[in-house]
Amino acid sequence: MSNHLENNNQYVIFKLENEFYGIPINYVETIEKVLELTRVPNTPDYVKGVINLRGVVVPVVDLRQRFNLKTKAIADESRIIILSIEEVVVGLLVDNSSEVITIMEEAIDSTSNLVNSFEDDYIKGIGKVDDRMIIIVDIPKILGIAMES
C-alpha cells in the first residue's frame, strides 16, 4: 500500500478553522453532505455518532474535537469524508472539502522541527503548494487503527 501511495501524490483537501489539511486520496471513498447523525453513548467525545450511508451504518469522527479545536455547528458547507482503511470504514466531519490537489513528495516537510498547537503526532508533514500550507494528517494514527493491523 505504501508503495502505491508514493506513486500517487494526490490529496483530498479539507478545511478546519482556517487551516487546510490533506488526506491521501487512496483512503477516501466518497465525500458526503452531512446526513442525520445518531449519537452513540459510551464512546469518546470525538465520535460524533453514526450515519446511514445508503444502508450501511458508518461512524463519524468530529475532527474538530479530535484536534481539540473549539466545536462549531454543522453548516451547509460541512462535509463528511468517508474513509476506508484496512476494512475499517469511518467518516470524518470537516468544515469544508472541495478540492483534490497533487503534492509532490519533495514539497512535504517533515514536522519534527516544527512546533504545533496540538499534538504533532497526528501530522505527517506540511505540504507547500504555491503559497498555501497544507497539513498532511496521519489518518491511521488519528483513528488509532493502522498500528493494530
Binding site: 449519537r39 452513540v40 453513548p41 464512546t43 453514526v50 446511514n52 451504518v57 461512524p59 469511518v90
Partner: protein
Amino acid sequence: MDMSQYLDIFIEESKEHLQNMNQTLLQLEQSPEELSLLNEIFRIAHTLKGMSSTMGFTNIAHLTHEMENQLHAIRSGELKINTKIIDILFTCFDQLDKYIGQVEMNGSEGDMISGELIKQLEALQATANNTPSPVAGDDITINPQLNIQLNEYVHNVLRKAAAEDLNTYMVKITLDAKCMLKSARAYIIINTLERLSEIIHSNPSIEDIEDEKFEHSFELVVVAKSDKRILEKELNAISEIESIEIVDLKANDITIEKSEDESITLMETEDEHQQTSANQNENRSKKGKTGKTVRVDIDRLDNLMNLVSELIIIKTRLEDIDGSNSNHNNMHEAIEYMERITTSLHDAVMKVRMVPIERVFNRFPRMVRDLSRDLGKEITLFMSGEETEVDRTVIDEIGDPLIHLIRNSIDHGIEDPETRARSNKAKNGTVRLVAYPDGNSVVIEVEDDGKGIDIEKVKNKGLERGIITPAQGQSMDDNEIIQLLFHPGFSTADKISDISGRGVGLDVVKTKIESLGGVVEVDTRSGRGSKFIIRLPLTLAIIQALLVNIGAEKYAIPLNNIKEITTIEANTIRRVQNNEVVLYRNATLPIMRLSNLLNVQTDETLDTEEYIVVIVKKGDKTAGLIVDHLIGQQEIVIKSLGKFLSNIKAIAGATILGNGSVALIVDTNSFF
C-alpha cells in the same frame, strides 16, 4: 494450467462426497452384505481420485486409489468385510477429511503422507491375494483389475457361452521384454486366438494394442470351443512371449454377473446424478469466487428474480403517477402493492440464506459410533428433521454446542449396559436428535433415555463449589437447581473423561446459544433420561424489537430480552445502597434509568408520577429499565456498527428506521 479457480468447487464437492462416504460407511457397518453400499463408496473414492488428481493433489489421489483397490477386492469377493476393514476405511475417511481441511485452509493438501494407512490397505490387499481363490488354479491369480473392466456386453456373452457349453477364458499374455515390434507380435497372438476362439474383450483395447499403447502384457477374454490346453499349445508356438496365463472364467460367472449388473445400473443412475450436479456446478461457478457459499435452489433464485422485476414495474408505475395528473388513489394502490412486494422479497432473500440442518447433523452418526465404542456403551442415534432449514450463520455456529450436548448425553446420561440391564432398560441406549421449525424459531432437541440428571448431586456440587449458599439451596426448586449446570465452572463428572472434560462446559453451550439469540431448556426425569431443548430464531439478521424514546433519542430493545412492560409509581422506588429498587410482584426488581446508562440528556425538571418500565431478563435475572415513551413493536434489521466502534458498552448494534435514521439496539444483557 492454473486450477486455482476451481479450488472452491473442488472443496465444496469433495466435502459433499466425503459426507456421502461417511454416511455410506456407517450404513455399511450396519449391513456389511449390502453390495450397493460398497459400490457407492467405491464410486465416491473413484470420483475423489479423479478430482484430486486433476487438481494435482497427489496424496489424496494416492490414498483414494489404494482405497479403490481394497474396495474392489471386497467387491469381487476376495476380501470379506470385517470390522477391521471398516475401521481402516474410516481412518481413510478421516485422513481424506484432513486433507480437504488442509486444502480449504491454505489451498494445498499439505505434506501429510498417509504412508501407514496405505501400507495397511496394501497389507489387506496382500492377504486377499494370498488366499487361494476357489476358481483360480494354484499358480494363477486373478488380476483384480479384470472384473471391473468387464462390461455388460461381456457378461451377456459369457452367460450365453455358458449356456451353449462353450469355454470362456481369460488369457494374459506377457511379451518378452526384448520384443521389438510389440504390436506386430500382439497381432500374431490375436490372430492365432481368433482362429481358435472369439475374442470378446481385451484390456487394453484392441486399438490400443495395435497402436502399441501397452507395456508388455495384455489380457483377453475369449470364448472357445476348444480346451485351454490347445490354446496354450498354439500360443506357445509364437516366439518372444515371456508367459501365458489362461484362466477359466466360467466358475466365477455368477458372482461377477451379480456385482457387475448391480454396479452398472448404479453407475448409470449415478451418471445422471452427476450430470445434474454438473449443471449445478456450472451455475455455481458463474457466481465467482466467494469465501462462504450457499447452495441455492434455482427456484428460489427465480422467485427472487420475479420479485425484483415486479419491483421495477412498480417503480415505473410510481414514476408515471408523478408525471401525469395523478389521482391520490393510484398512488395509494401503488404503495400498497410495493409493500406486498418488499415483504415477499424479504421472505425470499431470507430463504436463500437458509440451509438444511442436515449439514450439521451429518457428522453425528460417526461421532456417536466412535464414542459408544470408546465407552463400551451401546447407543443408537435417532435423527429426524434433518431437512429443517436454518440461517447459514446458525449452521456455522451450532455444531459445537450440539456436539457437546450429545457427548454429554452419551457420557453422563446413558448408563453402561450392565446398569441398564439392572434397571430393566433396553441394553441399547438411545439418543434422539430432533429438529423442527416452530413458528418463528427452530427447535433442536437432544434427548437421551439415560439416568437423568441427579438433582441432589447437582445441588451438592453447587454447594461444594460455592456457587450457592446452603440457605439458597434450601429454597431452590428443581428447575433452579438444574440451571446451575449452566453456571461457569460447574461439572458434575466425578472424573474428567476424554469425552466431556475438554474444557467446555454447559455454560459455554448456553453462552453460544444465547449469542445466537436462542435459549436452552432442560427437561429431566430421574431414571428416564433428560432432554436439552435449544430454541433458535429463524434468522439472525432480522429481529422483533420494541422501539422506545429516551429523551429525544430512539432506541430498540430486542423483544426476546423483554419479559414484560409495566408502569410503576415514582414514589414506590426505594434506594438501597445507591441502587434503585422497587417491589414488584412480591420480588425486588432493580430499576435502571436508561437515560443514565446511555448518557442521554433529558429534561430533569419534568417530574412524572409514573414511570414506564420495560422489564428485561437474562436467564433468571430481571431488571426494570425506565424509558420515556414506547413507540411500538417493529421488525428491525440488525446492522453492525463496524470495526471502528466495536464492543461499545450497552450497545449491541444499530438498525435503520423507516425514515432512514439510525437507531441503536440496546444490549440489555450488559446491564446484569
